[in-house]
């Protein structure tokens, strides 16, 4: 990666139009990035996901080609924020509310919003987050006032699609006030291998706030690095789902802080990999207060020569008595060449807690296949039914029926592809 080249392609470098705090933040992030450097094969956190092939490319920022978004829009959403190659496309978006549900850049003049933004942007020490801040383009800003319940779905669509080593540097902010609630669907699309989407999402849930947050990666190409920070206050609930239909190379980090009593989070993830695709899910759930609940279920279906990584850490701080935590990762390998590294981790400093974790790696149940065939179901169909059943559990967790139906259809298609891959 050539940072100078990236600078040249970025409008913020070389013009002084941005507020000084943001210019300062960019400069600081660059200095940090240059001093720490990018992770390599000897960085423990990146052991199974060497970002070499991303770092070897000379990325530049791409053009806003709004027409690329058309095919991926969601007519059922009440609000839709569309970004192409990191640029906000107002003509493709609808239902946005100035200052509340809009793009990040539109807030740069707003003093209150700036305060919140500044708070979110000073914590980055990790290399790709520093890169994200230094070259930040735009992103979604979703702020829901206290006691407000948004009935309709908010859809945030990010398309990175270009045939010339294009990267998007996106930052999303979702902030829910006390007892506010919302449903957000984030879609990430890339259809060429020459793209890198680097996104940081900051989520803040005030007392009693509830968020259903679904991530849906579509298209089966490109690279993506994603980092989600969830900060939860008292009695708030974060309900996170992610569906990864397979990209060339993906690294996801989710970091949840249950910082006050009664907060609850559930993290569900499904990843479907074929060919030579690679995906790494790193999750950290940090129980920092008593009586918090966390549930985590990740499932993977891997075919071809794909590789997957699951690393799930649950931390229970000394003060976090009566923690209730369950964590599981199950993997189905459809081919001999597929590979998964799975590692659930517990770090417990409190003594009155309930923590369970488990992980499995296996092939399709041959007895089950034979049983179905003896009832007349052809082998290929039986395999499809069993892999679908494996994935179904995670689809059923999505509360929004329309969203569930649409994702389900694509998950089933993708499963059929992976099966035929081998």
């Amino acid at each position: 990666m050539n940072l100078d080249l990236l600078k040249e392609s970025h409008p913020a470098f070389g013009n002084g139009e941005e507020p000084s705090w943001l210019q300062g933040a960019r400069a600081k992030a660059l200095v940090e990035l240059e001093s720490t450097g990018f992770p390599g094969p000897r960085t423990e956190e990146w052991r199974y996901s060497n970002p070499k092939h991303i770092l070897n490319v000379n990325w530049t920022l791409g053009a806003s080609t709004a027409s690329l978004a058309e095919a991926w829009k969601d007519p059922n959403a009440a609000v839709e924020l569309v970004f192409v190659n990191g640029h906000f496309c107002p003509e493709q978006s609808r239902g946005f509310v100035a200052g509340k549900i809009t793009n990040l850049k539109s807030l740069l003049g707003d003093k209150n919003a700036e305060k919140i933004l500044a708070r979110f942007t000073h914590e980055d020490s990790e290399a790709f987050s520093a890169l994200n801040l230094a070259f930040l383009q735009d992103g979604a800003w979703i702020s829901i006032d206290r006691d407000q319940t948004l009935e309709g779905l908010i859809h945030v669509l990010h398309v990175t699609d270009s045939s010339s080593d294009t990267t998007s540097q996106i930052r999303n902010v979702i902030a829910l006030g006390t007892h506010a609630s919302a449903r957000v669907l984030e879609t990430y699309v890339s259809n060429t291998n020459d793209c890198l989407t680097n996104v940081v999402t900051e989520i803040q849930l005030a007392d009693g706030a509830e968020l259903e947050h679904t991530l849906w990666q579509r298209g089966t190409a490109g690279s993506k690095i994603g980092r989600i920070h969830v900060h939860q206050k008292r009695d708030s609930a974060y309900d996170g789902h992610s569906f990864w239909l397979g990209s060339t190379w993906v690294r996801n980090d989710i970091h949840v802080e249950l910082s006050e009593e009664g907060a609850a989070c559930s993290l569900n993830g499904l990843y479907l990999l074929g060919g030579k695709q690679h995906l790494d899910n790193h999750t950290v759930i940090d129980h920092q207060a008593p009586h918090c609940v966390s549930r985590e279920l990740y499932k993977g279906v891997l075919g071809g020569k794909s590789t997957g990584v699951y690393n799930g850490m649950v931390k229970v701080q000394q003060i976090a008595q009566k923690t209730d935590s369950e964590q599981a990762n199950h993997n189905l390998l459809l081919s001999d060449g597929a590979d998964i590294n799975t590692k659930p981790e517990l770090e417990i400093y409190a003594d009155d807690v309930k923590c369970a974790h488990g992980t499995t790696v296996g092939q399709l149940d041959q007895q089950a296949l034979m049983y179905m065939r003896m009832r007349g179901i052809p082998k290929a169909e039986a395999i499809h039914i069993l892999t679908r059943a494996f994935a179904q559990e995670l689809l059923e967790e999505i509360e929004d029926e329309v969203v569930r139906g649409r994702i389900e259809e694509e998950v089933f298609q993708r499963l059929a592809q992976i099966r035929d891959d081998d």
Partner: protein, 256 residues
């Protein structure tokens, strides 16, 4: 040298089979006419379950010799799903769990897959549910089992009932029941037998594999065969079952 056997529902001639090189079936012969119920009894390890599984198409056994015909057609080269579509059914001794697959979805998929293979139209969804409902009522099954995952969390008796539910719904021409009575209390046995007997007809045949004579009081066979060391060593009518109950299998050896 083979005579015309197309009038038989099932015809097994000189069947030999191995598992991992060990001979299990050693020249087994059996002929079943349409409408007949045959019971196969025998000591543990005689090859009863192996026979049932080989007939249904289990591929972990190696058939080394012999012919098996269903309605005059050789089936040993057919896939299990093809045999099922031609009307063969095996009720499992140990039914398999299918997590994430609901009972009614599984059954409807099986019915339609068989119909498709036979060149028939898919079953009407309403007709299917109606038939499923009445079959469940006959077997005294809680309607909730319709939407539960196949056999997941079922008791032993519930699993056996579920096998008979599949039998009733798929309506095969040739049903093999492998130790359907094992692990059943007398009430469950009665219900299971009621289900099987409701299907008896001149066009349908049954081969009932069992270790105990008890089942045959409820599903009364036309013929009883004794399987020892991979061969049928004695055949008779239902009185043979009673005789076995009293004297056991001692003295019945295969003539290898």
């Amino acid at each position: 040298m083979l005579s015309d056997r197309s009038s038989f529902m099932l015809s097994i001639q000189n069947l030999h089979a191995n598992i991992e090189g060990n001979p299990i079936l050693q020249g087994l012969n059996l002929e079943v006419n349409p409408g007949e119920v045959h019971a196969i009894m025998g000591p543990n390890g005689a090859g009863k379950s192996t026979l049932a599984k080989i007939l249904a198409g289990e591929d972990s056994y190696e058939v080394t010799d012999g012919v098996v015909q269903l309605n005059g057609e050789d089936i040993l080269e057919l896939d299990p799903e093809e045999r099922a579509a031609k009307g063969l059914f095996l009720g499992f001794q140990y039914p398999v769990e299918l997590p994430g697959v609901s009972n009614s979805y599984f059954l409807r998929t099986a019915v339609n897959a068989q119909r498709k293979a036979r060149g028939e139209d898919e079953i009407d969804a309403y007709d299917f549910l109606k038939a499923l409902k009445s079959n469940m009522a006959l077997l005294e099954m809680d309607p909730a089992f319709k939407s539960r995952f196949v056999n997941v969390g079922f008791s032993g008796g519930e699993k056996k009932r579920n096998e008979i539910l599949q039998l009733l719904t798929l309506k095969p021409k040739m049903a093999l029941l492998d130790e359907t009575d094992s692990g059943l209390d007398i009430d469950a046995l009665r219900v299971v037998a009621k289900g099987v007997n409701s299907l008896r007809s001149p066009e349908r045949s049954f081969v009932v594999v069992t270790h105990y004579q008890r089942l045959l009081d409820y599903i009364v066979p036309d013929y009883v065969h004794v399987l020892v060391d991979g061969q049928i060593v004695r055949s008779g009518d239902k009185s043979l079952a009673h005789q076995l109950e009293e004297s056991g299998y001692a003295g019945m050896e295969a003539s290898v």
